[in-house]
């Protein structure tokens, strides 16, 4: 497979890889290629950083005491192909010594990858002996959290002050 033919085609391939839009065979071929090709790997990492950087700027982070409140600045979907998934994860992994409250008001949809990520983040926060809670999910997201019984583990609130106060008892 020609990976170096034309810079824009190469970039489109990388973007599709990052967005998980390549079929399995092309993904396999591209990964086999970049494991040996420093140039393509460098292009991939630069694009990955660029995409992460652009998505990170969509997450607003503010603090209330020892609680980090993360909120998306634009409407997003936490789905398998969304760059925000990785950005949210990075943001939470950076919170080593704080509790985390994720404001989901601008999240219109979550799929299994998004739910998996929330649980991984929860696991990470718990290991640091802190707590992660959710705020303002939409009706659909709330229903999904309920059906999957994730709301049993991840406390969910509609009122920010109430959510912040709940950390005192965690």
């Amino acid at each position: 497979m020609p990976f170096h033919d034309e810079p824009l085609l190469q970039e489109e391939l990388i973007v599709k890889y990052l967005q998980r839009r390549l079929d399995a065979a092309t993904t396999e071929a591209f990964e086999s290629h970049y494991l040996m090709c420093d140039q393509c790997f460098e292009e991939l990492r630069a694009s990955q950083l660029l995409a992460e950087c652009l998505s990170q700027s969509r997450i607003d982070r503010r603090y209330s005491g020892e609680i980090a409140i993360l909120q998306f600045t634009t409407p997003v979907q936490l789905t398998r192909r969304a760059a925000e998934l990785s950005a949210l994860s990075q943001s939470i992994l950076e919170q080593k010594d704080t509790n985390v409250l994720i404001d989901l008001s601008r999240v219109s949809r979550i799929d299994s990858a998004g739910l998996g990520l929330l649980m991984s983040c929860y696991s990470h926060v718990i290991k640091n002996r802190k707590a992660l809670k959710l705020l303002n999910p939409s009706r659909d997201v709330r229903e999904l959290l309920h059906v999957t019984k994730i709301d049993v583990v991840l406390e969910t609130y509609d009122d920010e002050q109430k959510a912040l106060r709940s950390f005192e008892h965690s």
Binding site: P7, L8, E11, E12, V15, L18, Q19, R21, E28, E31, S32, H33, Y34, L35, M36, C37, D38, F41, E42, E43, L44, R45, A46, S47, Q48, L49, L50, A51, E52, C53, L54, S55, Q56, S57, R81, A83, E84, S86, S89, Q90, I92, L93, E94, K96, G116, L117, M119, S120, C121, Y122, S123, H124, I126, K127, N128, R129, V153
Partner: protein, 171 residues
């Protein structure tokens, strides 16, 4: 194939990217999976069992796929979800990686104009094709390419710098 320390470091870096792509950044076992892949690969190399030396990338990729697959099977066999409190299994948040991203945010975003950011967001985050972006934002093909590759160059530089810092930190 002569596998020296430099090649191993490159493989480790690349495998970390691949494994993270497949198991997620929050996976606490990411480094273990990379390490296991390298151990198996080196064992095959030592025993001269890499049948096609011209296609080492595909071989290494296959080994890594198997390691990830076995890891997933093991997770499925284990209990569905049980928070662990063992201190030694904290999720990996490689500081160097986070530093790269922070640098990228600070340096990269400060240098982008509003229009450039809109172009890049459309291309990298919103799954729009070059044609669509050019139509919506009224750009010509060269304008699109200049914006894209100028931004890429900035982030390529950031990436190279982070590699240098990492190499300096290792010595």
């Amino acid at each position: 194939m002569d596998i020296n320390d430099e090649i191993l470091d490159k493989f480790r870096l690349k495998l970390r990217t691949k494994v993270r792509y497949h198991v997620g950044v929050a996976c606490p076992d990411l480094e273990d999976l990379v390490h296991e892949t390298l151990v198996r690969f080196l064992r095959f190399a030592k025993e001269d069992r890499i049948r096609n030396p011209d296609n080492v990338g595909a071989f290494l990729n296959g080994v890594c796929n198997n390691v990830i697959l076995e890891y997933r099977r093991r997770l499925w066999r284990e209990e569905p979800y049980e928070p662990e409190f063992r201190e030694d299994r904290r999720a990996t948040a490689p500081d160097a990686e986070l530093m790269e991203v922070r640098q990228a945010i600070e340096i990269g975003l400060a240098q982008l104009s509003h229009r450039d950011r809109a172009i890049l967001r459309s291309f990298y985050l919103e799954e729009r094709s070059k044609k669509e972006i050019c139509e919506v934002l009224g750009l010509t093909d060269p304008q699109f390419r200049v914006t894209l590759f100028r931004a890429k160059e900035r982030f390529r530089t950031i990436y190279r710098e982070s590699l240098k810092q990492r190499a300096a930190g290792n010595h």
